[in-house]
Every structure is written in C-alpha cells, then in structure tokens.
Amino acid sequence: MKPDYEKQLEARVNEELKALGELAAPAGFASRVMRVIEQRHFVPWYQRAWQTWPVAWQAVSLVLMLAAVGGICFGLGELLTAAGSSQYAKTVGGWFASVGVIWKTLGVLANAAIMAVRQIGTGVIIAGLVVLAAAYAACLSLGSVYVRFAMARR
C-alpha cells in the first residue's frame, strides 16, 4: 500500500470522525444516576462496600476479623493435638464413615457401568461417541451462526 494513500486515508477518516461531535445521552439518564445515588445514600453504612465504612468501624472490623482468624487457627491446632485421644478419634472416624458408604456406592456403580460396556460392545459405544461428537459440533456451528447473525443485525 502506498504511504501517500495511507496518509490521505488517515486524514480523510480523521476529518469524518472529528466532525461527529458528542452524542446526546438518553433523556432521563441524569435522573437515573441521581436516583441510584439517592438509593445508595439511604443504604446503612454496614451494607455498603467495606472500603466506604467509617474508619473507626473499619478498624474494629479488622481487629475482629484478625481475632476470628486467630481463634480458628488456635482451635484447629488444639483439635489436631487432641486428635490422638480416643474420644476425638472416634468422633472424627464417625464423620468419615459416611464417606466410606459413598465410596462403596460409587464402586458398585462403576462395576455396573463396566458390565454394561461389555454387554453392549465397543462398536456401539464408539458409534455413540461419534454421534455425540457430531451433535456437539452441530450445536457449536449453529450457535456460532446464530450469534454471528444476531451481531450482524444489531
């Protein structure tokens, strides 16, 4: 492309765009913004973003939060130390008993799935996967066409 052409093009497009001026904001835009500001004004401070809280409350909340985190860490440490004792070990073991049941159920389901695959045969499974992939590709293509079409119409 000729440099002269590029310069002319830039100047011409610049001329057109610079002549545009400002677009008018929609009627009622200012009222809408003022309404939102008013609504925010009536929201109590503790329901607003933490950064906008009064400084004293920010400090108090920070101290409380640090105390809570410290408490949790201390509590966990104590729990782990006491975990060796039989009473706590039984309690913790009880929590994991339900996990064991879920694990067994999953194992049974996996066995059932393996048996089903053996019965059906790999050919049918591969054909099913091919159909699934084709359906997925069709959805992707159709979705892309629709989005493209919708964007072109805007």
């Binding site: 011409r12 765009l17 545009l20 925010r40 493209r148 805007r154």
Partner: protein, 182 residues
C-alpha cells in the same frame, strides 16, 4: 446549592461526553448507559476533588474509556470466539454493506446532521477489533503504543486493525481519495 444539586449540574455538563465515549467504544446504547452510570457513581465518590478540578473532564473520559474496555474484555470475551469464527478476514467484508448516501453524489443536499448519523452508523457497524482502536486513535487521541498497551496487543496489530478499520469505513462511506487503489 447542596452537594447533590452541584453533582447533578456536574453530571448534566459531562453526561454527553461520557456517554459518547462509552457508546462509540461499545456500540450498544444499553451497555453504554450502564458504563456511563458507573463512571458517574465513581465520580460521586470523588466529587470533593473533582468539582473544582480543571481536569475533571479528562478524568471522566479516562474512566469511561477504561470501564468500556473492561466491559468489552469481561463480558464479550465469551462471544468473540463465535463472532470471529466465520470472519474470513478482519475487515468486516462478510457483514452486509450499508447503503450510505455519498457526499459526492448528494452533495450539498445532505444535511450535516444526517451525514454525522451516517458516519455514526458506519462506525457502529465495524467489528470491535477495528472500531475500538479506531475510536481510541481518532476520537480519544491516543497514540499507537498507548492503544497497544491498553488493549494488550502488539503495536503492529493495532496499526493493521486501524488501517483495516479506515479502509472499511472508506468503503462504507464511499469516501473518495486521490490515490485510491485499483
């Protein structure tokens, strides 16, 4: 005058500028309104500093530009894969050509306001990959390197996209140039 009243006057002074910036970058009135609203909500939080500042307009424009670009990258990234999928090249040739009146053909008869509307529509019809750098360069006055930094792309890509955008705009507006390519 109370502070909310002062802010409302400030808002009315700058609303067109902020809305124009957002609208030309986003090409969607609803999204442009949402972004403009967010700009003014942020301005309200800093109104103490902004109300007497001579650079308030610049601050608003920068925030409007940044929020619009954030909006584009955050909410439209998921669509870009689809929207770019069937684009054979980046100059929007696969989009239906708009039938704009040529200034040469119609000459003086075309009102300036109608012409501006045609240009606005042509700009709006460009794909974001061309429209955004074009607006940042010609309307926001940013340099190629600044645009590249803002968009997180190479300067070469910015230059190419802007050139393609200008070309697409030339075709849509049927602009006549002395050294037009064959």
């Amino acid at each position: 005058m109370t502070e909310p009243q002062q802010f409302e006057a400030f808002l009315r002074d700058y609303q067109n500028m902020v809305f124009s910036t957002a609208m030309r970058l986003l090409a969607n009135p609803t999204e442009a309104q949402d972004v403009s609203q967010e700009v003014f909500l942020r301005a309200y939080e800093r109104f103490g500093e902004l109300k007497d500042s001579p650079t308030a307009g610049g601050w608003l424009k920068t925030v409007a530009t940044n929020l619009s670009l954030n909006h584009l990258s955050r909410y439209r990234a998921r669509w870009s894969f689809f929207s770019e999928m069937f684009r054979p090249d980046d100059d929007g040739h696969d989009e239906p050509e708009m039938d704009f009146a040529s200034p040469v053909d119609v000459g003086e008869a075309v009102e300036a306001s109608e012409r501006r509307e045609f240009v606005e529509q042509a700009l709006k019809s460009l794909p974001p990959v061309q429209r955004v750098p074009l607006v940042l360069y010609h309307l926001e006055g940013l340099q190629y390197d600044e645009i590249a930094a803002k968009l997180g792309v190479s300067m070469g890509k910015v230059k190419t996209d802007i050139f393609r955008g200008r070309e697409a705009l030339r075709k849509k507006l049927r602009l006549k140039l002395a050294d037009e390519p064959a």
